[in-house]
Every structure is written in C-alpha cells, then in structure tokens.
Symmetry: C2
Subunit: 361 residues, 2 copies
C-alpha cells in the first residue's frame, strides 16, 4: 500500500492506494467520527462491493442510499434521496458518509456531506479509474444543472481517500478508458516525464496490468494533491486541472448528460485544447500528433460530436465556471507538459478549432 | 446609522443599522465584487423595495429571482429557481447575490451563494424584524426538508448586512411579533438587562416607535455577533441561540411549514423551555410568569398546538441538529438571562412539559 498526503493544514488527509484495501476495515474506521455511518453508492456498484463494506461497518448501523447509475442522475432531485435516507433513519450530525462508487457518487455524496445539517464528515472510496485518479481527491463536490455541469456544489474535503485498485477488475473497458483521459491530463499539464511513461506503458494499462495501474494512479494522485495543496479553492493554479474540461463540459451538457462519459468528453476536449495551442504557436504539429495518438491508443474520442454546432459550443462554454466578466478563460498548453491559463484567444482562432474538431476524421 | 462588526478574522463583516439605508447605494456597492449582481427576493417584498434596489444597482445589470413568499417554499426545488435565473442569465463566479427579504429569502439566497459555482459573494438586506435581529447575521443558510427544518445548508457568511429599519413600516403586525420572539430570546439566554428593558419598552416596540426598534435591533445584533464570533460553526456556545427552537422546529414541521411563523413557534418553544427549566429547579415560578407575560404582551403564542401529540413532538425533536448519539440536547435556562445546554433531561419531566404546554389555557 502506498500512502500520499494531501496537505491542507487542519484539513489534510491521507490517500491510500493499493490492492485489497477493501479487506482492511481499519482504513475506514479510523476516520469515522461518531456512532453512525451512511453508505452512498449506486445500483451498479452495490451488488459488487456494498456487502463487503457494510459488513466491515456493521457496528455503525449503516444507512444505505443506493442511487441510479449515470451522470444524468447527478441532480438536486436525486441528491435529495440521500437526505431522505439520512432523515428517515434519524442520522445526526455525528454521522460519517462513505462514498462508494465512481465520480458521480463521490461528487454527490460529498455534496450531501457538505450540506447535511450544514456539514458532516465523509470518506471517499472510489471504485472507477476516473474517480481514483481525479474526482475523489481535492474536495470538489456538487451536482449538475440542466444548463451546466457541476454548477451547484461546494469545496468540501474528505477525511480520507481509500483506493482499492482491485475494484478496477470489474470496471467496463469504456470506463477504464474514460479514466485514462484524466491520467493523460496530468502528463499534459505538468508532468512531461509521466506523459512519456504513458506512451511507453499504455498497452499494459489497457491490459489492466496491476503494477502499471497502481503506478499510474499514484503518479496521478501525487500531481493532483500537489496542485490542490497549492490552491484549494481554485483561485489560481488549480484551474489547470480543467484542461479540456471547458470543451468537454460543453459536449457533455450539449449531448445530454450520460451520452458521453466525462472522460470521453475531456479526451476530445484535450485534443481541441492541443489544436488551439498549436494554432496559437505554442505546440508543434508533432506535439499535437503525439497527444492525439496517445488519446487514441487509450481508445478515447479525438473529435467533437459533429451535431453540436459551433454556436452551440460557444453558448455552452459561456456558462463555464472559469468565465470572468464575459470572457471565456481556457486552459491551453504552452508546451507538452506545461499548462497555461488564458482569456486572450482570438475568436477567429477558436472558430477554427471548433470547425476542425467537428470535421476531423 | 450604527455600525457593528462581526469579528470572524478574514471573514469579518459590518452590520449597518439605521433609517433610510436603502437610499444609500454605497452600502451595497462597496461590497459588490465583479460586474454582476443577482437580487433574490419574494413576491411580497418585490413590489415594495425591489425597484429601489434595482435602480441603485443598474450598472451591475441585475438579474432578479422573485420567489413565492412563505416558509413552505424554503425547499431544494424552489432554490433551484435561483440557479435557473443565474444560469439563464449566464452569471459567472464574480456575481454578487443580494438577499432582499425576510429569513426565508436570506437563508435561501445565502445557500444559493454558498453553492452556486461552489461559492459566490453575497449581501444580506433583511426587511423583516426577525431577519434583522437574527437570521441575516451569522452565516447560517439552507433549506428545509419535509422531515426537518433547515436540514440542508451551509455555514456561509455574507460580505455585509444592511438593515434599513424603515422597512419595518410595511411589516404586518403578525410578523413584527414573530420577530420580537427572537429579540426576547437574547434577553433570556445572556442579557438580563435587555430582558428588563424589553419589559419596560414592549408597548413602544409594538407601536413601532423607531427609536425603540432601532435600540432593540442593535442590542439583538450585538448579542448575536458576540456569540457567533465565539463559535462560528456551532461547535459549542452558539447552540444557546437555539433556545426554544427544538420545540419550535417540531411545531413548524409538525403543523406544516408556513402554518406557524418561525417566531411564533419559537415563542411557544421558549415558554416550554422555561417550564422545563422550572421543573428542573433552575427557574422560579415568578421567572416563568415574567417570561410568559412578556411573550404574551408581544402578541405571541405561549402554548403548543394541542393537536400535536407528545409522541409526535418527541419524534420530530429526535431529528434536531443538536441530537448526539440518540440523545436530544436542549437549550434551557439555569436563570433568567443565562442559558445552559443539557442532554440530561429525565424523560418523565419532558413528558410533563409536553403535557402542560399542550393543555395550558
């Protein structure tokens, strides 16, 4: 087992990464405050892992909230089902919420923890690659609104993140690939050595080689933890973690939540960001080709859905959380392995990228 | 104009109290960050004050969310209408939310500010006595759940509180009285001199004597600010601000949100807390008679609704946010002017109070 620490002063917490961690109840129980636990999971994960977690936590008389599976259920309305379960079971402020599932479950359970009785403790137990390398770490919680992804939420840190890499054995291929999008992201924004490592080991990752996956998860979490420690509430550098996300959120919202997986939309969005960076003279054609090739090898989309018009794209992008004073701020690459935040993209160049991304074969 | 300061380190903010403050736009504009404002108000307050506030803030291109009036609308569903308005108007993270109205509006607008794009600034402009003396100060925000009052929310402080005492001229008598319940509360929990002052000046307050109201508001806000500064997130002493609220929330929830005003339920709840304190030997019969008399003079209820059974009361009280490990914690009075928090009330004594409160004439 590897242990990383996310350093946030009083709100610091450990990230445990390893095989078989779901068989070690002390990794959860050390972080449970109070006498009660509520486990939030979904209909896909529950048959696989809920029984085991419930058994470990039996003495905390666990309440369960089992939500439908999918981004389209990441809504205020479904969030309310968690509150229903907590209140029907008379859970008090000393209840610890355990998020058992992927990014949607982690975001919703975390937001429920942030707001139930104005805040209760929670623990992240991510079971998808995407949530293990990205969404379970860093305290972003929330739900979607029909007009925009993650528009309602809070920064609220877990007490611990417990990553059992064995849970990836039950992950569908499509979701494994979606997680790899966020893994590749870390290489692109701040870790060129990791990007090269991914080029060398993508086949092992796709074959679910445990050692390769553990390495990728650890390096991803380390990158994420360093960025979040430097800027918890996204006042500055943390924005770089959104590479590809402004384009990606537009795709997810525009196509209807759940049609594209988050990681798929981010993958296409990163290719668009790379294309735009090249048009601005920051990346070479060779860089873009490498990025595109790695994303394709990860079995991820490298083009945007042609049915989304450029006008729709720009309209959807204009509600992005990074917009300031009407200007879209984008995370781009000034080099392969170095992100930059800019609000100075000439509209004509953005139009070229939108046209190219939707036309590319 | 009087200015109080709520001292919370980096999150400190001023509370302005006086006549004619809605005619002083600088009290708002000094606290607006960014180029955009969203005003949240309700259908009752909008015709009275929205035009004036909108005119002052015209250069911020204000978005408006006008909600239905009443505690029964303090729900996640109605909250979503604020998000709809913000997103339809493409409000970004630099948008400042202005809460213009009573406690329901302040709580909902504040929670929307806490969670829109994971947090935007907000300003409280309370227009009811209850919100001016209590709910606008201290950062408690949230909405109700069918199973419990204020069960979903956040601690989130405003940038400023602007109390124009002239707005009380349009307040219905019933709501003026409801506000006086929270005013009396401060005397009971920590300010016996204020309690005596209220006994001497209740007639002036009911006659809406501006000087008396201003004095009552200032002394109430000063008490509130001192308690909140000592314990922002209700880990300890702040709990005393809930005198009468455990009983009161049970009445509000049990009778259906909106049937009893919050202040009315708190008034009856404070009489119950006083009765229980006497049964425990802490208050004299004379103390209880004084408390009851002052609350009656404020035209507030001094008994609980007889149709709520004792069993319903206890069931509703068991989801109170102060419950710990299955034990109801109550704020009681160890003397007139001194609150105490206890989890050690013998069930039989609580039953006596519940029986007496529902039978009393």
């Amino acid at each position: 087992m590897k242990t990383l620490e996310l350093d946030l002063g009083e709100r610091s917490y450990p990230i445990y990464i390893g095989s078989g961690l779901l068989a070690r109840p002390e990794l959860l129980t050390s972080y449970i405050h109070g006498a009660r636990v509520a486990i939030v999971t979904n209909e896909t994960v529950a048959p696989l892992y809920l029984g085991r977690v419930r058994a470990h936590l039996a003495r905390y008389n666990p309440v369960e909230a089992i939500l439908p599976d999918g981004e389209q259920y990441k809504t205020l309305e479904v969030l309310n089902r968690i509150f229903d379960a907590l209140l029907q079971n008379r859970c008090d402020r000393q209840t610890t919420i355990v998020a058992l599932g992927g990014g949607v479950i982690g975001d919703m359970a975390g937001f429920a923890a942030a707001t139930y009785q104005r805040g209760v403790p929670f623990i992240q137990v991510p079971t998808t690659l995407l949530s293990q390398v990205d969404s379970s770490v860093g305290g972003k919680t929330g739900v979607n609104h029909p007009l925009g992804k993650n528009m309602i939420g809070a920064f609220y840190q877990p007490r611990a993140v417990v990553i059992d890499t064995d849970t990836l054995n039950t992950l569908p291929d499509r979701e494994l690939s979606a997680g790899l999008a966020e893994v590749i992201k870390y290489g692109l924004i701040r870790d060129p050595g990791f990007f090269a490592w991914l080029e060398a080991h993508m086949d092992r990752l796709l074959a679910r080689d445990p050692a390769a996956l553990a390495e990728a998860i650890e390096r991803s979490c380390r990158n994420k933890a360093e960025v979040v420690a430097a800027d918890e509430c996204e006042a500055g550098v943390r924005v770089i973690l959104n590479l590809g996300h402004t384009f990606g959120h537009a795709i997810e919202t525009g196509m209807g939540y759940g049609a594209w997986l988050h990681g798929e939309a981010v993958a296409a969005g990163m290719v668009m960001a790379a294309d735009l960076s090249r048009r601005l003279g920051w990346l070479t054609e060779h860089d873009v080709a490498r990025i595109r090739a790695l994303i394709e090898r990860a079995r991820l989309p490298v083009q945007a859905p042609p049915m989304l018009t450029a006008a729709q794209f720009k309209s959807l992008m204009s509600v992005d959380k990074k917009v300031q004073a009407g200007k879209i701020r984008l995370v781009l690459l000034e080099a392969l392995g170095k992100a930059v935040i800019t609000a100075e993209v000439p509209p004509a160049v953005l139009d070229e990228t939108l046209a190219a991304a939707r036309a590319a074969a």
